[in-house]
Amino acid sequence: MSEFFENMDRVEVDMDSKPVIKFDNVCKTYTLYKSDQERFRALFIKPKHPTLHRALDHVSLEIRKGEAVGIMGDNGCGKSTLLKTVTGVNFPDEGTVEVHGMVAALLELTAGFSIDMTGRENIYLKGYILGLTDDEIKVIEERVVDFAELGDYIDQPVRTYSSGMKMRLGFAINVNISPDILVVDEALAVGDAAFKAKCKNKIREIIETGVTVLFVSHNAAQVEEICERAIYMKKGQIIFDGPTPETRLVYITDKREMQIERRKKRIAQLEKLIATSDNEEDIEAAKNVLPKHQKRLEQFEAELAQYTEDLKNYRIEKYGSADKTGFDQ
């Protein structure tokens, strides 16, 4: 996506305005049922010792109109749950969530389609589901048809579409409804190269009009191109919230630290095996892989030192002191 988001002029964010998205101490816990029997029982009596997974852990967050906020974090950090809560699919167990304005989620593009109806009928159907009136849908209908580039297929049942065509129609509807909040997932891939470029341009166009954007990615560099602010999530908690370059450095520093820890543990295991095992073959195998691990460890440690230094420099330059962080601002 990078080349499309360079040199973007964004509308200035009014930091005194009311937040459009506000999370106040939001917790979300999933109950994991061990078996179908347990699930059935849970319908009538509360499980005594349920297995719980805490996906959001006291998340507080304010996003103002016009802000573009990136969310970084590894798999299972709570990104998806956070987005699902913003789009109104999930409900928090504790805390309050306020979302003002229409949300367009470029996550589930084909959700809500009825495959036996034509593409055009589905524009109306999806419009109704999103709460638009007939007149409003009429306005966007032609734009959607033009954008989706389906030709005569627009009046054919959606079940005859290829998956790419369905995605194109879904994307076209979602970006043309003039949302107030746009939720974009990095993994978004629609159609061929030309259409992909068209999608990126459209997203860029929407962002420039000053809608609020939530952008999710594993790739910190991508987030940096689009968002001036970023959040780093880990195990359901917001670890850091600040300017994107700083968040990115915090994220990769933390990630390296974890990797170093894991690598050290593995090396210790291997060393113990070499010292105590009776099996010649095992010892031989362990001796073979050990140098590789050590080399990686050294490399990670060097990178960590570099990132820590970068972060320190960034903070000195930005705030005048290495102890101050964007989180405090």
Binding site: L43, F91, A111, S114, Y124
Partner: protein, 276 residues
């Protein structure tokens, strides 16, 4: 408590009125599109079922060609076909409403897990789609009844029984659909029970004409209330309030079912996206 819960359901329906009818239409299209005779299947299937039962009971078991019903201390004798026809029409709606209504949240999971959608309207628009089919079948039934038996002012009671039937089974699905979304076992339990319920309901026989205390016990089956209600309107020339015991037992069940539905829907609504 219930008022707060009910408000949630009403709010979900508010501002969604038009969408409900559009979605009900798509539901019908979904069911019948892609078949050569399309909507006629809605008539062919029940007509065939009716024929099979009529054949078994009137031709197969020869003695059962007629049904005698004691109404206003008079015995009315009906042709078994007519008697069964008026019973089967509400039964088709009821059995579909119970078995399909329980599955609706699971079947429409894309609305629950992918987008922000007023979930309680799923039960409403699918019920409305079934009601359209029921209306068409009722019309056909009325033509046959008027030819075989005649018409009367009592027929207007259909406008009492039909909406009540719609609501009763809508409220039931407020309980069953979220439970079935939660657990497949619930769904299987309902389908299994329903296959037997038919024989415990006076669709092909007269539920009033059973040895005591069975005739009283039968009054507690709410399906009997509607099956006999349709017969009140079209065959028995009797008002719904004339048989007070039957009416008040039903009313009590209706109220309990309503509160249970509101309670169960709200209890499970927020958990459904997590488990579906």
């Amino acid at each position: 408590m219930v008022i707060v819960f009910l408000r949630d359901i009403i709010n979900e329906h508010k501002d969604f009125g038009k969408q409900i009818f559009v979605l009900a239409k798509t539901e019908l299209i979904k069911t019948y599109k892609g078949a050569a005779i399309g909507p006629f299947w809605a008539v062919v299937k029940p007509a065939f079922t009716l024929f099979v039962y009529w054949f078994a009971f009137s031709i197969g078991i020869k003695k059962l060609g007629h049904v005698d019903v004691l109404i206003h201390d008079h015995v009315l004798s009906f042709d078994r076909f007519l008697f069964m026809l008026v019973g089967f029409i509400p039964w088709f709606f009821i059995s579909e409403s119970i078995t399909k209504g329980a599955k609706e949240i699971r079947l429409n999971r894309q609305y629950v897990t992918k987008i922000n959608f007023p979930v309680s309207t799923i039960m409403t628009f699918t019920s409305i789609a079934r009601l359209y089919v029921h209306l068409a079948l009722s019309l056909i039934m009325y033509v046959i009844v008027s030819l075989m038996w005649g018409t009367s002012w009592y027929n207007l009671q259909i406008f009492f029984y039909m909406p009540l039937m719609f609501l009763f089974f809508l409220f039931l699905s407020w309980s069953t659909a979220p439970m079935c979304a939660f657990s497949r076992d619930m769904e299987n339990a309902i389908v299994s029970i329903m296959s037997g319920i038919f024989w415990l309901t006076g669709v092909i026989y007269n539920s009033y004409d059973l040895p005591a205390p069975l005739d009283k016990i039968m009054l507690f089956n709410p399906i009997n209330f509607f099956v006999n209600g349709y017969r009140n309107a079209f065959l028995y020339n009797r008002f719904f309030f004339e048989f007070k015991t039957e009416f008040f037992i039903f009313l009590a069940e209706f109220i309990v079912l309503f509160f249970l539905g509101v309670y169960n829907y709200n209890r499970l609504r927020k958990k459904i996206p997590d488990v579906l």
